[in-house]
Homo-oligomer: 420 residues x 3
């Protein structure tokens, strides 16, 4: 479905492939799974809802009393109508998830359990969309694909990321964009292990998840904490209005855990509406299509686009008349009858002229002036057209996002450590 | 009048002289200006109040109906008794300012308009007072001279600056002082364009304006934001007591706009009582002599003098007994009967001894200890007399106010850009 | 008594020995001192309470009227039952301290004053306990011994320091520990003057005083203000819970004044419960054994031990799998059934892995994560055992506490200044 919208390349990585400290696991496929009650009727049926099966369950066919079966049943007593989502990726096990009421209704007797699954040599699958820009420097967007049937904590990220990629493919780009659709954790690790050169070109990035509910936006900072993406996201959310929260980095969460591991230390944050684990529907059957709404998804997409806009345009400029103010009036850039306050457009122009010494980026100017990036960008454009300003050459802009003095070059360190 | 008090040199810069991006404009002189009503009586008369004429109005002699005249009349409907102050420096126009009630009283009919002004080749005039000190490093004070008949937003700055110059001329000076009386904007630009070497010697500076009203003090920081003058002004206002506010730099305001343009980036702030535009009398006939009061002017002068005192004395010293405390008691610098708290004089001496490692200035010590600069300065003096302290040589003090590492040398850059 | 518990070496420094700007004073010994009233009975008797005698009083035998005697009597009118503690170390004088009520009861008449003291060539005595660790880098603990009969402001420091030394002598040590029992001011100055090489090895230190009362803990920062000991003490007090206060450095107080004098600028703070001068019993007979309580002393000792624990263990580590997270699950370090929150132990492990890039110490990680140092240390230990982490070599840890770039090397500067 995603490939109908964007040019997505899929990759198949064989079971057993070593990826850093990990190994691509066996592939899990399910043909059927159910529990039949003492009367022979199915009481839990994978065909009805794929959450019913503990993910990565090993195959089994057995008959057992209810008391034995119960050791393999998972419910949420506090939400007796919801089915939990559970996994056992890295410990071989089997089990079923069901609503607490469903479990309470089970009568004593003998139950037939069938999990017709395979855990065999196969592949890990991920998708990648690469959109080349004028620069080989890259911006990364990453979302996870591994939570079946969950809407906010899976599908919303896929949807917003897909539409964002579509949007990006339709405009001219300064940066190149790399957009990943990967299984959480192992997928990100696999991509990082297989793309060591590309990693070194990533300048900014965002993990996108939980973007369809009605909660306020949350931006979790990168490990660096003062990366350009951190400032851009905070600026965009501030000027977008409404309530929002900026969260400090922590090493638990989504795939920013991998992108921000110390060997990479990429400038990658995470954009969410409600934070995983903070809403009761999280990892349950209640995180369904009714929990996410088109207007919330659209608003999330708008925020992503606004972040891209700032990243794309955030450059340093040089005031070509740095000694005193240039005479804006004779260029039609200033009101000529003094005595009243100045308009905000003129104010933005004065800020851009005053701080464009080759050291302040447009975002620096927006932050210091309190004006929006778009107002500052607009002022810079008009001043360029009036030959009062010029963009700094690319070299003068590269170090705007260079690793800080005490940081390492992740690409070089990585290549030295894992030579081909 | 100012020359009766201080040694002021005046400069005449011819119309047409290029000054950076600007050109010295034509000189405007007014012999007479009035509006006569249908009955031939003057209803608006420049001889009564020079605010009645839109400043820089081109000459005109015409008769027109009231409806046409009204396009050239300026009033303040919210303050119907006040005459606004309006200018049209950079767009050729003509007009009259009058009270709203005056305008409402005008009856339909034919009006005779006379503006007997000249806009011709002439000069821009500014005054400069230079007071040499032991160092060639300079402190700049600048006030504007261009608002006719306005008391707070013109005359108060002239008055305080004049008295400050008089005060400075009567004492020994460490720094050299350059005190400018210039028309706003074009005057400061003209001075900067004509004094490129002097600019490179300016270490600190203040624009002085709106110093006669009863409002609390406001200090607007330099573009650098952490310049020595910024810290000195904040310290003086803090210890002076009373309410006051420290404002961040912005590129709109008075001539700090020019001194802090990126090519100069001088350490120049702006001292005001009420801030321009924040009081209703601003740029109206109500900003008259009754709006400013001698005690407020005197208090403003005291603040300026206190700032000068700190600038003059803010040096680094070196503790000559840096290993353990020296024995203050045997030098009569300490109470000898323990058991009570120490007095604030002793406390100041201990602070000066503890932080005088050649890296902390007296202002650093005052800020860290919470004591006033004068208490710290007094302690340093007594310790010097006791041979426990010595002033660092001048080189060790110069970098106290040197441009920060990432700054440019404004003088050098300016000279390279505009060779003679 | 202290030597019964720890291996304490005592040093005797002769009167007249020059120590920096000071000289070791004459030794003061008292055989007896009293005042006899008109009826020949002792009204003030040194044998009853040694606070009765102004410390360092010169010998005298005289008879005088009450009016003359009163010039030499010290009382506390606000606390009429308490005897003040007074000294006159550096000005030759004599006097008696008594309760205000005692003084009010004195009747007119002739009084016999006897101070049978000696002020003669002798020695200054101090004690030193050196506990060698694996490193020659040292941690300093210092307490004062000079306030006779005062419990909180003398004995509590001696007691806690003694028990701390005993505790340290029973465990393996990374740092070497130097524990000083010195008369205030002159004792610390004497030790510093005589131990110039040792001074250069001091990496951290604490002055211990006023540790037996029931007040909340106060930690006064070193002159540097961001020294490792400052951060360690703040962290320990924060995680210990209860109310506590962190005080900025000031050059008045206990012997941190000497250790933090600018020539040394040692990383030495001061740990107290109630702050000197802030409790009415300070420097009076009411600062007696009833004012300090074993539980308060024990709690103080626990804080000291906790500070030592952090200093001893605060190292930098290196994540041996810095590219992506290592797979904790297969090592038994992670829960394998997803869907719930993670436990705090796993969280600590993730933080340690994420920040162990050779640049962050365990304290850095504890501060950033908000977890306790002990939780972080425990995580580091388990990760080391799993070969996921290794301690940085000693060189990589030394600069963790090296003097900052703009600091001087105190040892070198001292040796150059005072060659043997």
């Amino acid at each position: 479905m995603i490939q109908h919208r964007i040019s997505l390349e899929t990759f198949e990585v064989p079971t057993g492939t070593p990826v850093f400290d990990w190994t691509v696991p066996k592939e899990w496929n399910v043909r059927d799974a159910y529990i039949k009650g003492p009367d022979g009727k199915k009481v839990v049926d994978f065909q009805e809802c794929n959450l019913h099966l503990l993910n990565y369950s090993a195959p089994i066919r057995a008959t057992m009393p209810l008391s034995a079966l119960k050791n393999h049943l998972f419910t949420i007593p506090e939400k007796p109508d919801w089915i939990p989502y559970r996994t056992s990726y890295y410990k071989e096990d089997w089990g079923f998830c069901l609503s607490h009421n469903q479990m309470l209704a089970l009568e004593d007797g003998s139950y037939e359990v069938c999990i017709d699954s395979t855990l065999e040599e196969g592949h890990l699958t991920y998708g990648e969309c690469y959109l080349p820009g004028r620069s080989t420097d890259e911006v990364l967007f990453s979302c996870h694909t591994c939570h079946p049937s969950l809407a906010n904590d899976n599908l919303s990220g896929l949807a917003v990321t897909t539409f964002l990629a579509q949007f990006l493919s339709e405009r001219g780009l300064h940066y190149s964009y790399r957009i990943l659709f990967v299984p959480g954790t192992i997928g990100a690790i696999t991509w990082l292990a297989r793309n060591r050169e590309a990693v070194g070109r990533i300048r900014h990035g965002l993990v996108l998840t939980c973007l369809g509910d009605k909660g306020p936006f949350h931006y979790k900072k990168s490990r660096q904490g003062d990366a350009e993406i951190d400032r851009v996201a905070a600026h965009v959310l501030l000027h977008y209005g409404g309530s929002r929260e900026i969260l400090e980095f922590s090493p638990y969460g989504y795939d920013e855990r991998q992108y921000c591991s110390p060997g990479f230390n990429l400038q990658v944050g995470c954009l969410m509406r409600s934070v995983w684990g903070s809403f009761p529907e999280y990892h349950t059957s209640a995180d369904d299509l009714s929990f996410i709404q088109p207007p919330h998804l659209a608003e999330s997409l708008r925020i992503c686009v606004a972040i891209v806009d700032v990243l794309e345009e955030n450059r340093r400029y040089r005031n070509l008349n740095p000694y005193c103010e240039p005479q804006l009036g004779r260029r039609g850039l200033y009101g000529s009858t003094g005595g009243e306050g100045i308009e905000s457009e003129v104010n933005a122009r004065l800020w851009v002229l005053n701080l464009s010494d080759g050291e302040h980026s447009l975002l620096d100017i927006a932050e210091r002036s309190g004006l929006s990036f778009s107002a500052i960008k607009c002022a810079a454009q008009i001043l360029c057209e009036s030959n009062l300003l010029e963009m700094m050459p690319e070299e003068g802009n590269r170090d705007k996002c260079k690793p800080r003095a005490h940081g390492r070059s992740p690409a070089r360190a990585l290549i030295e450590r894992y030579p081909r």
